[in-house]
Amino acid sequence: MQDEKSLARKAMVRPDSMQMLIDLEAGARGVVRQLRGGNEFANRIATLGFTIGAEISVIQNYGRGPVIVAVRDTRVALGRGEAAKVLVEVVRA
């Protein structure tokens, strides 16, 4: 049931415009569109400000080590595994 639901959710957004947060380079800006990785994780990260529709900008991503993201006036470091579960739509400047 969970799988069906997340599949349905995935189908609703255009896959070409969505990227994992982990794949964004420093300086990139985006809007959070989906949180994967189970309810507990999604709940935890949403309360930190990563709600659906929240604007984020990547401050640092060296391709290894945690990613630093600015969300709602806050800098948050996310492990690579965690950052892979946040799907964003990139906003072109």
Binding site: N39, A42, A46, L48, T51, D73, T74, A77, L78, G79
Partner: protein, 682 residues
Amino acid sequence: MDDSTRNSITVALAGQPNVGKSTVFNMLTGLSQHVGNWPGKTVEQKLGEFSQDGRAVRLVDLPGIYSLTANSEEERIARDFIIRERPDVVVVIANAAALERNLYLVAELLALPVPIVVGLNMLDVAERHGLRVEPHVLAATLGVPVVPLIASKNKGVRDLLDAALYVMDAPAPESCTRKCAFCTEFAPNRPTIRAEHRPVLEQIRTLVHGRVPLPYPEDWVALKLLEGDAEIARLMHETTPDVWERIHAVLLQHEDAYLDIVGGRYEWVERMVRAAVVHPRTGVVCLTDRVDRVATHPLWGLALLLGLFGLVFWLTYTVAMPIVDWLDAALIGPLTEWVNATFTPVSPWLAGLIADGILGGAGTVLTFVPILVIFFAALGALEDVGYMARAAYVMDRFMHWMGLHGKSFLPLFLGFGCNVPAVIGAPRIMDDRRARLLTILLAPLVPCTARLAVIAFLAPAFFGRAATLVSWGLVAANLAILALVGIAINRLIFKGVHTAFIMEMPLYHLPNARTIGLSVWHNTVAFIQKAGTIIVVVSIVIWALSMLPGGDVEGSLLAGLGRGLSPLGGWMGLSDWRLIVALLTSFIAKENTIATLGILYGSGEADAGLAEQLTGVLGPAAALAFLVVQMTFIPCVATVAVIKQETASWKWTVFSVCLLLAISFAAGSAVYQTAVFFNIPR
């Protein structure tokens, strides 16, 4: 909590991490605070008492939390306290430089039936980052008193308390005699949930109506159920098995509702903030970003970390070591002589008990206080500036190998000073039980000051010019063992589960001397209390074992044990029972190794004579094995005591001791046998 006695009131202090909450707490309470643990928990609890306008105020510092979910122990403690203990008022400290995220906690707290007051802190930091926040506008939109603060300069802290007492008394506005500028009638603009979820919430509310156990508020329980809160779900499942099926069915259909509820709260927050905050031009690069370009760079960040922590070590050793030596020479030494001179005529046993048992064990541990004070102060300053989050960030890559994340690095680093605060610190930093346990198990493998002191004494005796090289090699090998054990425990016992790394990187700001001073004070007092109680008791027990039944070490129970173990020691080239006994007595305190060797090899004290005698007994191979075993041997009794306390489990405590025994035996044997294989003299 008793409404009839308004002369004694309880104020709860809430706030997210990194908002200056403890600074506010310290400004209000000073040294009249008690630091302990929340009942049955490993989370630190701080209580303070003082009086204001003739009333006794009990100030309870709630753990730093981002929200009121059941996702962490801290959050459960905070909300349980507010719901069950019913504080008269909750003061929420918010960081003006990150207002949106901070007001999220306010949005959650407003769902509970308790008056709240917001302390808007770090206005200066916000201003420096180009943010202007207008407290009175925020107060008007929130409908809650908002008091501007610069806690680090003690500005506004008393006003905050005035506002809290005012709201608590909740008089009609005109009856307020104080008329402080920041008071607003407490008429909060509470967040509501999005229209599409209102019918479901209503449905749940109807289902739980009249069934929610006191003191939980019904509306709040309904909301938390819809948010998928596991703890509240369990509560309702247990207390209302008859309707739970129906509630559960409704909840299953709305599993995603929490995303909308959280999103809705943030929308509410955005509305509150919009009017009160003037945002900076986009593209402004602030100080924090500039510093972080170095501090969180994969290469420069690591270099900075090593440099800073090297500096901490240098500072600790150059400032504290002379004081430790002085304490040992000027205090413990003469005191021991005095005890011997005074009590030996009365009873040699009593003299031995006090001089060798208590002063030799617990007393020596106490002389390490200067090291800890410097260490705590340096680390406290780095923490207060905001650097520790960066250290954790840089170390995350390496800690990941052990299934830990960067945050575990901090308590482990504390272990270089003394393993005791490392074990105590582990639960206070980590948010997940598995990571806490693994950090506690690894902490004794960090070479503490006492072990390093033994190496510093013995390595030159055994290896002469090569001593520095050997010492560094031993420390490096020790850390390599730590990493390997971490990887192994994670793979074998915890099945390779990884802990999520989600950490706020606070803005850098100037440190506050008072906050650092108080943290040094509390940590040191806690350490001394430990040394004064449990360490004294166990020191006496071990001393007794080394004296009974004959009154000398050679014929004692401990020596008997040493002889019994010498076949095992043979594997490591340590077949001399005296070496085994020296290791066993290091259980009291690591530096006892030297003292025991001194006694057993008859030189009476640890001087050059001992070094010569030891080189006569041990060849380089066995000497190296001895040092390796000494480094990795079971932790001292103080560490074992706190392991038991923090894990609250004999099973894990015994496991930790056995693990280290096995490691030291394996490492010692491996070193000796390898050395012998390469024809290094035994």
